[in-house]
Each structure stands twice: as structure tokens, then as C-alpha cells.
Symmetry: C2
């Protein structure tokens, strides 16, 4: 398996476009379209937030078919909390795309991101439909990635090349962050707090693709957090064109190589999202083990990962382990504090529940100046282990969110 | 009932002191003592964080007796995660006080606040014991309040004058914040994320006082949050000297007037703590109703109150109600988003789940420039209601926490 970051490759069977439709007030690209030449197998995981945006409601309905032709994405407006007019706008815009590409209207899936509460400006989108469709290109994925950004500092693209039974296939992943990021997806009632799209030329059965997507999300996006806030618009979709002519696997399981490629792509996109979290300067991979179950370990990791006191300490490059242990202690998970150890990078700063000493903390501080590092929290000898991708909370987080609406 | 803010009154039977023992590196007062002339009835609620500081462990043991002579409080060092040496230091310092005032060692309760992980400097404290005891005074409560502060911008004092059966009594409350503030106390397994002390000259039975304290805390501190982080050192204690000669009530219930005074004092101290939360510029009283149960309403309120996106919007004076509704939607509580309404001050900005309009949001913004205001979130017609005292998250929160350890 070959993994490539930050750039796109063509995926046979798919074309992409992105342009500015004037939804964002700053004139940046805000409308993206991906079209499959033929109906592609599709699977999705959507927000479990009780407050679901109009595009999420429609996409949930349309995913049931297991096949789709296109996804239409806009940034600059979440079209959430917009009632019946919001649903009508999502229907009208996807209808316009369906007409333009010769598809059924329920073969076009909508996704939106931006401010909650504003109605989707459907006229602006419909006015650009022809331009959008006529600019579709096999190498258009970077424009697509650009047009779905909101507070992101950079585009998020990853590609994978691998093979199934000797036949090569490829997979392209595109995502956007950077706030309301706290995915917690599951195959059955999945949710996410971002937009992410996978395109592959493999074959797959819809149900197997859906199960694989849920599992991949659970191992990756599921344990990643920027701010602990779950969005109304989270959407993760996977499209498979079948053009690589690979073995489709069974109705329940995709081929292992496809699953591995999906996990690799989701992992990289999750890392990119957290590293590019609003105001984030440090991507920290937090590992917790030694408690009774994996679920308990993940709960401890989630509590630490969303603690404002821990996050500001990371911003300050301060190995303030007391905040880490205090957060673990309020996670409603049983452990013996006097058995706890904490390591930042290769510097063990807590052993037997107490401080190792100043020299160890000085070494930990040297690790914390880096943009990316690892923290290990061991709370005993139990078999449970879990991890979270987290980031720091600094001045730029406040700057980004104290006047977001403009 | 008369309520007085920001100042102390003498409480018959108690004397107070506060001074600098050199625990804080900046030379500010950091050691406080309150002494009852005779053993007072005492009740307490302590952190439920699994990681409990040494003073919390000792105080929990000593509260069982239901009577105590003194509380010794230091700021500048939490004496948490300090193992057996931490317990020994807490024992040695309270023993020194007990010797100096002629009490049994288990009649002196310790409480500490400050950085986690540093061992209590017992020699510094013991060296000042005589000075501390000799400076005890009936009017020393303001010095006590000053000496327990950490990141607080101001002292937190409240007093109540009321009567039981025609006999006057008084109650004095003293507290400190300002971070790791997310109390959630209960009579049985209580916790808090601050230090707070009540002193009254009423009579009370220990069990009744404990029950009353738990209920008072549940109605006040229990629904207050600065940062969502629960401390290792939370301690709320109530002392009753009996010097007012009031009716003690029953073994299970304190007189109503005493309970009301306790609630009033706790409410004011909770408001002061949240208003003075680290970096806080706005105290917001958030009310949620219309869901099935009070517990569900409080869960929604807690989720909104701890959302970084909501808190930064409050800092920005932005009536960004989409973030409020999105936070409600991830609280794992059932409601119909299309029935939701949101009011900031007297400006209704959401009705039927959608925006009322720009003029309403302009009026809401005008409310949000104030230091204190109310937000009402109504999610349907259910009987459940709950509230939270919350604050904003701005640059000063980051400034305060990115280099706390010095």
C-alpha cells in the first residue's frame, strides 16, 4: 500500500469541480461537485446530533439506495435549523445538478458546512450549476478540496494505491475541518463533525462498504477531537466506481486491502483535521491503557482530550501532568491513581502516581515544543486501551470563534 | 433574610486569620485558619474525582465525627498526587494547629488549593503556626478570604442575617475559584471544584447539616461551571457554633430558615465564582426547559455551558444560537428541534427551531455586552427544567492557563 499526502490522483470513474458561487462573503470557492460517470456504490455515516441539517436529512434518505451519481457540497452556509425552506433548497439545488448530469434527483447527495441558521442561497447555487458541471475534470479534486474549506488553513487530501488479488486500485480522500470537530461514528448510528469523502475505483457491495466505513471511522475519526463539539452537518461518504475491476468481496465484508486503504485514508484525514483544528499548534496522539476495557480507556482519553485545562497547558508547552491526571479522575472510570504513570514523548514524568522530577519535566517540555508528539497515560494493569487525536487550545482558537459570523 | 455581599460580619463562636507563609512564590497571603471556640457541628462535601488530594482524604476521615474545631487552608499548593509524603505533611500541619489551639489533631480539617503534584511545604506552614493562631480575630474573615485565593481576581464573601423562631442568627460564606470549576455535588457522594466554607452561629444536628449542605450545593454549585474540569481538591464545609441559641431542628432536617440561608449563601458564592472564572467577562444564567425530566434539562444545560463554541461566542457577544442548539442536540436528550425557542435577555432569537431575524439578533447582541444576563432555551412542552451558571471563554482564559505553573 502506498500512501500519498496533500495531493490528488485521478480515480477512474470520477470527475470533480470547485468554484465560487458567492455563498461566502469573501469570494472564496464555496461550491464543490463530484460526479460518478455511472451510478457508484455509496455508503455514508452522518451526524447523530439530534439537530440535523437539511442536507443531512436528505442524504440519509438517499443513502438507503446504496448507489449514487454525485455529491454536491457547499461551504459558507450549513443550511441547518432552516426548517422546511432549508429542505426545499437542498432539494432544488441537487435537482438542478441531477438535471444537468442526467441523473435521478435522489442520486445526488447534498452536504453543507458553515454558519448554522442561514438558509441555503439556492439561486446562487443554481445559477452556477452549468459552470460547475462543465468544469468537471478527472484532475479537479484539488479544486473540490479547496471549495469545501471553512476555517481550515489548508486543503486536506490523501490518496492510497494498493491492490486486491493482484489488481491495482486507488482511493482518494478529501476532508475539511476545522471546528465543531468531535466525531464519534458507529456503523449503525454514525456521526461525525466534519465533511469527508472517499472515492475509489474498487468494486464493493453497498452493505459491506457501509460496514467497512463505519469500522474505519470508529478507529480514526471516532477518536479525534478539536473542540468536543459535534456538528449538525457531519457527513462522511464513500463512493466506489468499480472501474478497477477488483473482486468485490462479500455482501458483508469488503476485501481486506480496501478496508486497510479506507482506514489509512481516514487516519490521515483525521490527523490533518486535528492538526489544522481551529488555532491548533500541536497535534497530540494520546494513548491511555491499563484500565478494565477499551471503552473505559477511550472514555478517559476523551475526557483528557477535551479538557480545557489540559489543552491550554499543551498550548503553553507546560508538562502540567496534574491536569491530565485530574481529568482522568473525573472520567467515571475506575483506576488506582497511585499506580498511574505518564510519559510525554520519551520523558516519563509521573510514576506510581507522583512526579518523577524537574529534569524529567524539562525533557517533556522539550518534546512539547514540537508540532506533533505522543502522550502515554498508563493507569494500571488492565487490558483496556484507547487513544485520541487531540490538539491544544490557544489564543487563535478564541480569535477564530469569537467573531466567526461575518 | 438579609443578604450582604463582598463583606464579612463576625459570627459568634468563630475567629479567623490569614497571612503569607511563603508557599506562593509571589509573597501573597497563602495560609488561612478558622477556629471555633468550642467544637462546632461540621458537615462537608468533597470532590468525587477519583484522584483525591491528601487534604481531601484526611478531611473525609475527620468529617465522620460530625464535629471539628478548625479548618486550615493553604493556597499555592494542592498537595495532590503527592502520595504518602503528602498525607504526612497534611497530618503534620494540622497537628501543629491542634497543639497550638488545644484541640485533638482530628478536630482540625485541612484544605489545599494550587498546583497539583507539588508536596505541601510543611516546614513553612509549621513555622507560621504561632503567628497564625495569635492573629486569630472575630473580624479576620477578610484576611482568611484573601489567603485562599489562587487565580481569583477578588475575594468572595457573603453574609446572611435571618432568624429561627424569632431568634436571630447569622451565616458567613467564604469561597475561592477560579479554575477547575465544575461542581456537581450530592449529599451522598458529593464533590465540588472549589473551596467554600460556611460559618453560622445556629444549632444543627450533624446529619441534618450534612443533608442540608448537600441539597444547597445541588441547587447552586452543582449547576455552575467555569471550565468543565473537576478538581482533585474540592471542599465545601459548613460549621455551626450554636452560639445563637436557635432551635436545632431535627436529626434529619435543619430549620427552614437555616436551609434558606445556606442556599442563599451558596448561590451568591457560586455566582461570584463563575463571574470571576478564569478570564471570564460575562456571567450567564442559562435556563433550559421543555424536556422530559429535570435531569435531562440539566444535562442539556451542562452540555451548552461547557461548549467551547458557545463560550467563545459569548465572549464575542455574538448571539450565535446555532452553536447553542447544536450543543443541545449532542446532549443525548430527546427533543424536537423544530419546537425549540431561544431567548437572550428579552430578545427571542429562535422560534419554531429557526431564526427570528436580524433585528432580534441585534437586540440580543445589546444584551450580551453586559457583564451578566440570562439565556432561556425552551425545547418543547415537557415538565423538565434545569439551569447552569456559566461564563464566556476569551483570551484571558488562555493567558491564565497557558503558563499557570511558575
Amino acid at each position: 500500500m502506498h500512501l500519498g499526502l496533500d495531493s490528488a490522483i485521478p480515480i477512474p470513474g470520477f470527475r470533480f469541480a470547485g468554484l465560487s458561487a458567492g455563498i461566502k462573503s469573501n469570494g472564496r470557492p464555496d461550491l464543490a461537485l463530484a460526479v460518478a460517470d455511472e451510478p457508484a456504490v455509496v455508503a455514508g455515516t452522518l451526524t447523530t446530533n439530534l439537530v440535523r441539517a437539511a442536507p443531512v436529512v436528505l442524504t440519509a434518505e438517499r443513502l438507503v439506495r446504496g448507489r449514487a451519481r454525485a455529491v454536491l457540497v457547499n461551504s459558507g452556509c450549513a443550511n441547518a435549523c432552516t426548517g422546511e425552506p432549508g429542505l426545499a433548497a437542498a432539494r432544488a439545488t441537487t435537482q438542478a445538478i441531477a438535471d444537468a448530469i442526467g441523473a435521478r434527483d435522489d442520486e445526488v447527495l447534498p452536504a453543507s458546512t458553515g454558519v448554522i441558521g442561514a438558509l441555503l442561497p439556492q439561486d446562487k447555487i443554481i445559477a452556477r450549476t452549468q459552470d460547475l458541471v462543465s468544469s468537471l475534470a478527472e484532475d479537479g479534486a484539488e479544486r473540490f478540496a479547496e471549495a469545501i474549506m471553512t476555517t481550515d488553513r489548508s486543503r486536506k487530501l490523501v490518496h492510497v494505491r494498493s491492490s486486491i488479488g493482484g489488481r491495482p486500485f486507488s482511493l482518494l480522500g478529501i476532508a475539511k475541518g476545522a471546528g465543531m470537530i468531535h466525531p464519534s461514528m458507529a456503523p449503525a448510528t454514525p456521526h461525525a463533525t466534519m465533511l469527508a469523502f472517499l472515492f475509489t475505483d474498487t468494486n464493493a457491495h453497498p452493505r459491506a462498504l457501509s460496514r467497512a466505513l463505519g469500522r474505519a471511522a470508529d478507529e480514526t475519526f471516532n477518536c479525534a477531537s478539536v473542540d468536543g463539539d459535534t456538528s449538525t452537518n457531519d457527513t462522511l461518504l464513500a463512493f466506489a466506481s468499480g472501474r478497477a475491476g477488483t473482486d468485490a468481496g462479500t455482501a458483508d465484508e469488503v476485501p481486506t486491502a480496501l478496508f486497510d486503504a479506507m482506514v489509512a485514508a481516514c487516519e490521515q484525514l483525521a490527523r490533518m483535521m486535528v492538526a489544522d483544528g481551529e488555532g491548533s499548534q500541536h497535534l497530540v496522539e494520546l494513548h491511555v491503557r491499563g484500565v478494565a476495557t477499551d471503552e473505559a480507556a477511550r472514555r478517559v482519553a476523551r475526557t483528557i482530550a477535551t479538557s480545557p485545562l489540559v489543552k491550554t497547558a499543551l498550548f503553553g508547552k507546560d508538562p502540567n501532568w496534574g491536569r491530565i491526571l485530574a481529568a482522568a479522575g473525573r472520567a467515571d472510570v475506575s483506576f488506582d491513581p497511585s499506580a498511574a504513570s505518564i510519559r510525554i514523548g520519551d520523558a516519563t514524568i509521573v510514576e506510581g502516581g507522583i512526579a518523577v522530577g524537574r529534569e524529567a519535566e524539562r525533557r517533556a517540555h522539550e518534546v512539547m515544543v514540537h508540532g506533533s508528539y505522543r502522550i502515554d497515560v498508563v493507569l494500571g494493569r488492565g487490558p483496556g486501551k484507547g487513544r485520541y487525536l487531540m490538539c491544544d487550545l490557544g489564543y487563535d482558537y478564541v480569535r477564530c470563534n469569537a467573531d466567526y459570523r461575518s
